[in-house]
Symmetry: T
Subunit: 150 residues, 12 copies
């Protein structure tokens, strides 16, 4: 079993800071802050501390993942647009050597062809795709399971 | 909210009947019967009846999905090898008009190139991939959430 | 001229048994039984006995085509989803050595990219695509013409 | 039901004027004039006036389709070689807003690879392929059916 | 600076003669004659004579471009469907040795995949795409700028 | 050395039941029963019991391979058309953990392009292709050699 | 008509800050400041306030576009190298829900093959490509036209 | 030996009428008329009448090739830009059933990638590429040889 | 039946001379000389003389195959690396007009992607792949069978 | 004009030494020696000495081309199978800096797909394809013309 | 010879700051600081000042390369993950007009397929790949050689 | 540490014997002999004996690499044109089990597309590309480092 004194790191990629404040008819009225609050609640229930970080910058996300190597127990990541373009985030996740779970709000297979390829898919433990804000909560459960089995 | 008097249908594709009885060092010692038992338990907790069906035959799976249109509320499906080759199952899932969730035990993105394409991915609500037997349990939670929001 | 004592075989692939009973706003209210009845009527008019067979199973369709080699004069086939995936049905049609006509209810070129490829297209006499239930009737006329010229 | 005072337009693409006068062992002894006569006969039977036009020029075919917007009720088209290369004819058929049916004498799927792609396939109502001169007659029946249902 | 006694040539490809007279809800109510009139007005303002030519025929467009070598100062071209299929028009534009600007009414990148490739794109000075009738007016300004800088 | 009390399993895929009874000028006059008899004779000579199974159904073949895990020593398989389309049979062969040899009557590289890809090729011990009924006999020798070396 | 109290946002991608200060024989002697000044002048003439922003960072550009949702009326963007690689900027432009026009100084179709693909092309109103600094001025006119028609 | 009372037909595709009158530094100062004169001279020497035809129109070229079926003995063709795009000319050459030789002034393999594919290459007797005006003269010798061996 | 006074030719391509003397843990301890001896033994048993030839040079292999046209009855070939790159050996095998059988020690489908394509596969009688030194012996049996049926 | 004291080099690639001695019904009864004799005769007529060289070895052909840099005036090459596979011969032809003409006996566009690509096509002056032994004679005329124009 | 008063710039891309501090069994125990120290030592020996810069951010790397145009003599760059995705860094290297050498610690051709493409490869002087920390030292020697030859 | 009594083998592929004697303006005036002399000098300095071998023949290069297995300590190879086409040399390098370094004089990424693929890249220790004769010297240093670390 992993060290539960280290928090689970939740990473939100570019444009996810816009959630809920605009286009509620499309993405729902849930803001990123509300998602983070729900995650905190579930994490507490599951017995894990949890930290969340959002950035629009690829480099900032890489740097935050690097820090996780020391200070976190696992990574729950919605890489947003960088899912399809960032080898740097892939490399950071590999380098930090923590179990990672990839989540997506929308079903990326129902959108543009280029969104079907994830550069993280084969180096994370698993993926959860298409359940809106619930993707994060399911992902947290999945990650907690992986850490418990670890 | 959907009609909770209709059971959730769990579908297991070809070769999943072999789970747990062979190669426990690879797939774990959990048998398909044990997975079904865990699913029954969680379904009860979530307030849904649940039925499970396994077949090695594409046509049998198609026929079972067709029946679901009348008698089930949603579909939790691990299509196994048919994920990558069956347009017939895709068509049956579309035709039954029920919300469906696709699950996979292993991370299909870490295996042969041809396993990365799912013929169901863009017509199900979402996918859960890579968490072993937990993929089913997470998938059931996800489907219950979709049905509750329905 | 072919032997008119042998019936024309009409084959319906997977999911076609669902026609008319569900989603009438999409596929029309015509059931498969009604299509078969119209085909019987036209066949009688054209002077041919006619038998129809539907299955969701690739193997069952292969076996039925094999029997046709002895007992039928020609094949009118809507392979449904197997159009795009079944080499076995292709091989059975070649092996039975009867003239075959391929029909589709919908225009397969207006749908997913993978539906544009038919594994039967180059081994049948011809194709009739996109005219709903009329595709079958036109296909029967076409096949009768081929048999008459045979 | 469509306006039956407007004729159905039959369009023959490049090289179809050569039919029957050369290589009768390949294409049969039926000339284009004979096909048009048969079409006139069947059209009369079905209650539609019918006009036929052949050209080797892409621009001439485009212009004739444009005129159809005003003066015809539907289009039966064998685009010949332009099937595979003409976006201009595709655009004209879209612009004229009439139901169109695509026909081919030979089975284009049994020939060169590049003949398998039709630039019209996804914008016509349907296709009839491979029945020789009968393709036209079946196509006229199909179009009449579409107009009647219109 | 170029010789302003030679007119700018405006070329309209196939089907553009249909503009405004049909489907005003899609393409707007502006006819090709009205676009030409606006272009004449702006050309006068910019100090250039202007001639316009439309044809549905690839060969006619090629011939008109050949004449431009002697009698025109620059070419503003909306090749329509020939954008994607005509090497002959590409060769004529190269051969006439005049600066050319390519314009499109609609955003060709929002349509069928095959419309994303222009056979002129790399041999014209530049492209203006997606602004309806304004594409022509912006294109005329662009060409006038190129000629002035010439 | 493997356990010689368990029979070698010979599997024949779809349409192979038609061998010899039709088109003897193409496939020869040898029936599947005669091939099985020859295999029995050679197996006896090599000291192995042998069982043969033919099915047109993908699911039936999968189920038979699953049973082999317990009751057979090795698999000699001519997957017929499923060679090119069945991931399910591939998975069953992997799961049964027995040495397998793939055989083909005809030279699949001289036929349609899609027949050049075998979904079994990289998971069997080896392939024997193109020697008619002798392919089976050579394959049995090869498999016996593998089992002897086992 | 749009709200003219909100400025048009001009975005310059990576390396555009180098314009005019280096390699004047290639890119001309015009600096980015001079382009911005010309844009201010034309914007004033057209009755719009205008703000310009340059960054070498993908994340910074994403953040600036997010702010535009509240404070700007439209976006004129030269994404530079990010044209071909940034899904994040694409997503930000979609999310900000403002009309956007894409401009390029050089003709991207005359350069490396990978520059022919723009990840913005199908989500902006239109593109203006290849007219040097004039691309920006034409783009501003185009955007003003779109806003006026808005 | 072929009938020498029928002339050899020389066909020049689009833009070849511009030869020699423009860009002599590129294509040389030889006009198409001069090439035709040289061909007449060589044809006389070889004992064949010769007719030449140039058109910018695909349809006109098709029609001229159709006439050749009756009135000519062989075809020497430089299809220019239609080499890469015209299935109609390909079909006409096949239909006229005369030996044909394809020639090109420039080496089409040293130019744009799309010029490397000729739609005539596999249906003509042979190709002569890259020798300027001499390509025609060599092609005439080649065709005369084919006719003599005929 | 073929002329048994002419020897069967066994050809070994590049690097096969290294067999057995190096890396016995990978390729086994069997040398090429020992394989040739086993082949001689089996050939004698089957009633055929046999000659073996190894070369690292493509040209030498081509020359030896050319000689076979006169002096040998059939060819058993392991082309080694030239399997995937040599059109010259393909042409020589075609030109010598003898039945040929292709063998490989290792399963080429389990190695690099480029090893899956054999330039000989469609012009030999058949292939035997993956059985180590036994591939040669099985291949000799196969070839003897072909010659006997010859 | 080039130095006529240096001979034209004729190169024949692999398997061309077999010409005429085998399969006369396919390749004609003309031997390579007879082709060389005809070439000598025509070369004398054109005023050029001529040397011919054949090899089955890629390296030998490379070495002979290297020598040509000093001792020959031009290269007439039929690379045979190496046309499609040899970068080394391509590099040697570039390095020798002599004008080269590529010839082929058969029409390589009527054969296997891989024969349509020539690795020499874009670095020779031109190609002559499909005229049997006449390809060489036409190629010699073509090369003599290039040298004369030199 | 270049101006030796300007330092050579060493650029380290994303995740290279992690070197040596983690996973020493994989990447060795050498830290980035130690590599920089070795480079300083060798640079002093070769007579060049040297500056090193690492960033996880694409934009920061672009900005640093832009500054090099004024203040550095050459660029030694290990772009890390941006090798495969950054057109912006490519453009910055082109724009700075300094000789650049690309180095990689690991052999990028032994890893994922997408790592085989470098967006810098064709615009740098050369590449050094696969020698661990020595790649940098060899790259510095190479760059010093280029600058000396400058 | 490796056995320093065995020489490092330097291999030069086809056409490298031409270096320096022709086209000095392109490849420099350095001959292959001079490169070998420089390599001898540096090898002596580094404490290694060194042997060099050049051949235009693929088979000769394969044979020389095979001998290296016994008599050399490492391989420094510039495969020239065989870089892109020779699986045989790849196999020989693998079989000889010595560390190998691949070098190229020119930057192969700035040339024809097919030169970007090296069949050796993933089986050598590393590559050095683009530094002219210095590529060899850097490669020798790199190989010496690998052997020292050995």
């Amino acid at each position: 079993m992993s060290d539960e004194s280290k928090a689970i790191l939740v990473l939100h990629g570019p444009n996810l800071n816009m959630l809920g404040t605009r286009e509620p008819e499309i993405y729902g009225a849930t803001t990123l802050a509300e998602i983070d609050a729900k995650l905190q609640e579930l994490a507490a229930e599951l017995g894990w501390p949890l930290e969340a970080f959002q950035s629009n910058g690829e480099g900032e996300l890489v740097s935050r993942i690097q820090q996780a190597a020391e200070s976190n127990s696992g990574v729950l990541i919605n890489p947003g647009a960088y899912t399809h373009t960032s080898v740097a985030i892939r490399d950071a996740v590999i380098a930090c050597r923590l179990p990672a779970v990839e989540v997506h709000l929308s079903n990326i297979h129902q959108r543009e062809e280029f969104r079907r390829r994830s550069l993280l898919a084969d180096i994370v433990v698993g993926q959860i795709i298409g359940f809106g804000a619930d993707s994060y909560l399911l992902g947290l459960r999945a990650l907690a399971g992986v850490l418990a089995a670890g």
